[in-house]
Subunit: 206 residues, 2 copies
DNA sequence: CATTTTATTAATAGATCTATTAAATTGTGT
DNA sequence: ACACAATTTAATAGATCTATTAATAAAATG
C-alpha cells in the first residue's frame, strides 16, 4: 500500500525479489506481483518484457550478493593467521545473516538449471582463482612454521562455505529444533561460534 | 516406454517422485506426469484425486527416508567412543549418498510451508528426544574421562547433520568447483573424510 | 500550448493446468 | 457368455497465466 511514490519499475522489481525469494519461479505469477504492487499486470511486462527476464534480474542481483559474501575469504594481512581465519568465518557468516534467504534461493535455482550452473561456475572460478593460489601458499607457510596442520585450500574453503551456508539453508527448521534443546540461546550466534570452533580445531589439531 | 508392465498407480507415483525431486510442486503438472508415464491425465487423478495428495505421498515417503538417515546417530555401543562417532558421521553420510536429492527437496518444501514444518518438528522432537538424553550423558561421561572436550549434544548433532547435508544440498555446484581445484579426486569421498576430521577434531582438541 | 514520448490500463488471444464426468475398455467371478 | 467392478480414456468446464495490442492518461519537450 502506498508504494506508488517511487518509480514503478523499482517497486515491481522489489516485490518480485520478495516473492521469488519466498516461493520459486513457477509459484510466482506476474499477475500476483502486479496484484500485490497494486498496478496493472501488463505493466510488469512493459518494464521487464517476460517473466523470465524479470526473474533473471532478481537472480543476478542476488547472486552478486552471494558472490560478494565470499570476499571476506580474502581477509586482511594484519592479524596472526589463526585470528584472521576466525574473522573470515565470522565475516562470511555475518554477511549471509544479512541475506538469510539467498543461499537457498541460489542453490535451488542452480540445482534445476545446469545451463546457468555452468555459467556461474566459470564466473566463480575466475573470481576465486587468485584467492586460491594465495591461500594455498599461506597455508603451506603456516604449516611449515608449525602453526597449523597440512590442508588443501579447497578443503578449507569448502569447510567454511558449506558450514556457514548450511545454517541458513536449514533455517528455520534447524532453528526450531535447536530451540527445543537450548531454549534460551540464540541459534545463529551459537552456530557462528560453533563453526569457528570447527574450523580452528580442524586447522590446529595435531 | 514400456512401463505398463506393473500396476499404474505405482508407475505414476514413481514418475511423480522423479519429477518432484527434480523440479518443485508448481513446476510439475499432472499433465506432464501422465505424458511421461504414457497414460491419460485423468488417471493420475483417478488414483490420487488431487495433485496435492500426490505430492504429499511423495513427500511423506521422502521425509521418512530423511528421518531414518538420522538413525545412525544412535550408533552401537561396542566400539570406543571416538571410533563410534566416526562411524556415525560416515554412516549418516552414506545414507544421504544413496538419496542425494532428498535433502534439498525436503528443505525447500519446508521453507515455504510453515504448516508442515511445525508438524515435522514435532515428529522429529519425539524421535530424537531419547537419543539426545543418552548422547548428552555419554558426552559428559567421555568428557569426565578426559577423552573429549565439553560439548552440548545439540551442537554435536547439528555439526554432523549440517555438515553432511550441506554436501548434498550444494551438490552439484560444489562438486564442479571442487573438481576445478582437485581434478583427480572424488568429491563425495573427500568431503566425507573432511567432515569426519572436522567432527573428531572438534571433539578432541584441547 | 501543441506535440511527442512515456507510463498505465483494459481487453483479450492463446496456452496450460486441475479436476470432473461420462463413456469405453478391460478384467473377473459365476 | 453375462453381469459387474475396476481401469482407462476422451471431452470438457472453469481457472489461471503469459504476453500482446490498442486505447487512454500523464509527463516531458520544444
Amino acid at each position: 500500500m502506498a508504494t506508488d511514490e517511487k518509480n514503478m519499475e523499482e517497486v515491481i522489481l522489489q516485490k518480485a525479489e520478495e516473492l521469488f525469494l519466498e516461493k520459486d519461479f513457477a509459484s510466482v505469477s506476474t499477475t500476483q506481483i502486479a496484484r500485490e504492487v497494486g498496478c496493472n499486470q501488463a505493466l510488469v511486462h512493459y518494464y521487464f518484457r517476460t517473466k523470465e527476464k524479470l526473474f533473471n534480474a532478481v537472480f543476478e542481483s542476488k547472486f552478486k550478493i552471494f558472490s560478494e559474501s565470499l570476499l571476506p575469504l580474502f581477509g586482511k594481512k594484519e592479524l596472526p593467521f589463526i585470528d584472521r581465519i576466525k574473522e573470515v568465518v565470522a565475516g562470511h557468516f555475518d554477511i549471509l545473516k544479512l541475506h538469510p534467504t539467498i543461499p537457498r534461493f541460489i542453490l535451488n535455482e542452480l540445482s534445476g538449471n545446469s545451463q546457468r550452473r555452468k555459467m556461474l561456475v566459470e564466473k566463480f572460478k575466475n573470481l576465486s582463482q587468485q584467492l586460491y593460489v594465495d591461500l594455498q601458499k599461506e597455508l603451506d607457510d603456516e604449516h611449515a612454521k608449525g602453526n597449523i596442520v597440512e590442508i588443501r585450500a579447497i578443503d578449507l574453503m569448502l569447510d567454511v562455505v558449506l558450514l556457514n551456508v548450511s545454517v541458513f539453508v536449514t533455517y528455520p527448521l534447524a532453528n526450531e529444533i535447536f530451540h527445543h534443546y537450548s531454549a534460551n540461546d540464540n541459534f545463529l550466534e551459537s552456530r557462528k561460534q560453533e563453526n569457528i570452533k570447527l574450523i580452528i580445531n580442524r586447522l590446529t589439531n595435531r
